[in-house]
Amino acid sequence: MADRITGVVLLVFTAWYGVTAWGIQRGFFSDPLGSRPFPLAVAILLAPLALYLVVRPSQVPVVWPVRNLWPALGITLGAFILYSLMMEPFGFIVSNVVVFFILSLVFRATPVKGLVAAVVATLALYVLFGWLLELYLPTGKLFEGWFR
């Protein structure tokens, strides 16, 4: 059943991808083949494969996470998204402490241990990446005024 649904999702994707590929315009200085055929070929390759999954799904059952695990998975995903949202306004230190703390709780740390680990690890990474390796770590737009 899972394969059938995957096949249908892939078919929808292929149709969308193929139609978008069809709309690609030729470049100003172009070669004989142009920019359109390669993506179209990818769509033409994908379509029968997706159909095969619908018609002849494999018999191997998919082991989905048990129901009470989905919240933990959702929180993990949320933490990742939070990281990309927080990085620029709040900077590396604040966002890393927050995300590290959330993830350590997901992996069953006690709140105190998780917080200590988050702070220590963040400072260690800041020293390693920011000072020793001299990589760019954002200070955070919100705090930039403080250091000016």
């Binding site: 390669f38 990818v42 390759l45 993990t76 993830l103 954002p138």
Partner: protein, 506 residues
């Protein structure tokens, strides 16, 4: 004797302080990440690419570092396999068959020792193969034009789809998804494709973002699922030594497995997993007269460990001589070389002799370092297995996100990485292999460029793709790789079944 002089020069390069430092870091990181479940060499290399670019590491040092991680991880993965029965990567699943029973019987020390020694034998012997065959293949590949390259890439895709994962169709779907990801952005004539007017999509998706997302981020979700079971207990190590008798009984096993492992490594898509299982089943047939394999026979540890290390040198051959890698990890290494404007190919070894021979020499040095790290110091590494998951996983996540952000300064890339992580999680659940996606993301643009260049040169005459003897041979090999899954399905040898149960080759 020309090669000998070149190798001496190579040692001159490899013994420079920076190169010595990176080979040590490489094998150290390799051992650690090979040991930890779920990280693997592909993630470590992908994470280190933006960092080493930001640091401005020279190409030679970068290649030495990444190769060190690659072969070092094959040493490290046996530690967790033997002591925890948790293979770090699929390529050490075969090691568990005899390694874990040995550890449970209180012989963890000898198991670790033979695994380090076999890894050393496989690692060093196969370098001879690399030195011997890489120039030969390069000489042959010098006749490759765009049309030949196009067909070679087709062959690589069909083989990796056939040999990884449990289902050929799903392997092909994974390849197609990778190709679709690769078409996003400006093409070679500066036409914007699948960008929807978003300027940040004009550069396409960086292969580092795709790789870390698919492999590292998705693995975090998988670990969330597993961790609820709690941490496994580490077996006692004991003295990490073997007797002379144990060594002599395994001697020819290691030699044979190194040779077969090396040859399997050269094939696209086959890699360390298939090499280790092939060596294990071959030796079982050859030397196991008492039926001890599977019950803790030391030769059952020696065979796969020699083979999976030897396969790494084999896998470097198509990468360096053809510029067409056969696995996810070598694909990521190619991506780094391309970003350095160093396109590997038939002339790569002659043009970059100092780089190639420096790499070869560093591999000898690295393998000696690994032997030292893995024999007397293995007890220290075992402690790393005791770091709780709630420290380890967030740490890996932080390093991955910081590495990507420091290189691109783009929160959009972090977001894209998360999306690829979700995609990777569902693909793994549904039985799609991930390595073909990464391979297709890196090779896709190359495939299209060669297709279009071949047609430009031939004035739109499609016969260039099937008239030369090389293209005909490559099409024939492609056909064989397409038929292979059906043959394997009918015969179903034990090794293949186990390989297919293990996760796809990384």
């Amino acid at each position: 004797m020309e090669a000998f002089g070149l190798l001496l020069d190579g040692f001159g390069t490899a013994l420079q302080p920076l190169n010595l430092l990176v080979v040590f870091l490489g094998v150290l990181i390799g051992t650690i990440i090979g040991m930890l479940p779920g990280i693997g060499p592909i993630n470590a290399i992908a994470i280190l690419i933006p960092i080493s670019f930001a640091l401005g590491l020279p190409p030679t040092a970068m290649l030495i570092l990444f190769s060190g991680i690659y072969y070092g991880s094959q040493y490290g993965n046996s530690i967790s396999t033997i002591l925890l029965n948790v293979p770090g990567t699929a390529s050490s699943v075969a090691t568990a068959l005899d390694g874990y029973p040995m550890a449970r019987a209180g012989r963890g020390g000898p198991a670790l020792a033979i695994s380090a020694i076999a890894s050393f034998v496989g690692g060093t012997l196969s370098i001879f193969g690399l030195v011997l065959f890489a120039p030969l293949l390069a000489q042959w590949a010098i006749r490759f034009g765009p049309a030949e390259y196009f067909v070679l890439i087709v062959f690589t895709f069909t083989t990796i789809s056939a040999l990884t994962g449990s289902n050929f169709v799903k392997g092909l779907v994974a390849t197609a998804i990778g190709l679709a990801i690769a078409t996003v952005g400006l093409d070679l004539t500066n036409v914007a494709r699948f960008t929807f007017g978003q300027f940040r999509l004009y550069d396409g998706f960086d292969f580092v973002v795709v790789t870390i997302g698919l492999f590292a981020v998705s693995e975090v979700f998988t670990l969330v699922e597993q961790t609820r079971g709690g941490q496994a207990a580490v077996s006692k190590v004991g003295r990490v030594m073997i007797t002379v008798k144990e060594f002599t009984s395994s001697f020819w096993v290691m030699i044979r497995s190194s040779i077969s492992g090396f040859m399997v490594g050269v094939l696209p898509g086959a890699g360390a997993t298939i090499a280790s299982f092939l060596a294990y089943t071959t030796e079982q047939r050859l030397v196991d007269r008492e039926g001890n394999f599977g019950k803790g026979d030391i030769r059952g540890v020696a065979a796969p460990e020699a083979a999976n290390n030897a396969s790494v040198s084999g896998a470097l051959i198509p990468l360096l001589t053809l510029g067409v890698p056969g696995s996810g990890t070598t694909a990521v290494m190619l991506g780094a070389l391309l970003a350095l404007n160093l396109a590997p190919g038939p002339l790569f070894i002659t043009r970059n002799a100092d780089l190639f021979w420096g790499l070869i020499a560093s591999m000898y040095i690295g393998n000696v370092m690994l032997l030292v790290l893995n024999l007397p110091l293995v007890g220290l590494f075992v402690r790393i297995l005791l770091i709780p998951r709630w420290v380890l996983v967030p740490l890996v996540v932080a390093i991955a996100y910081v590495a990507v952000y420091s290189a691109t300064s783009s929160p959009f890339d972090l977001f894209a990485m998360t999306v690829f992580g979700v995609l990777g999680f569902f693909m793994k659940k549904l039985g799609f292999p991930l390595a073909p996606v990464v391979l297709a993301v890196v090779l896709g643009p190359m495939m299209e460029v060669n297709l279009r260049r071949a047609l430009s040169l031939s004035n739109n005459d499609w016969s260039v793709f099937y008239v030369s003897p090389i293209t005909i041979a490559l099409w024939a090999m492609t056909l064989v790789s397409l038929l292979l899954p059906m043959v394997l399905k009918r015969r179903k040898p034990a090794a293949v079944t186990i390989v297919k149960e293990a996760d796809g080759e990384k």
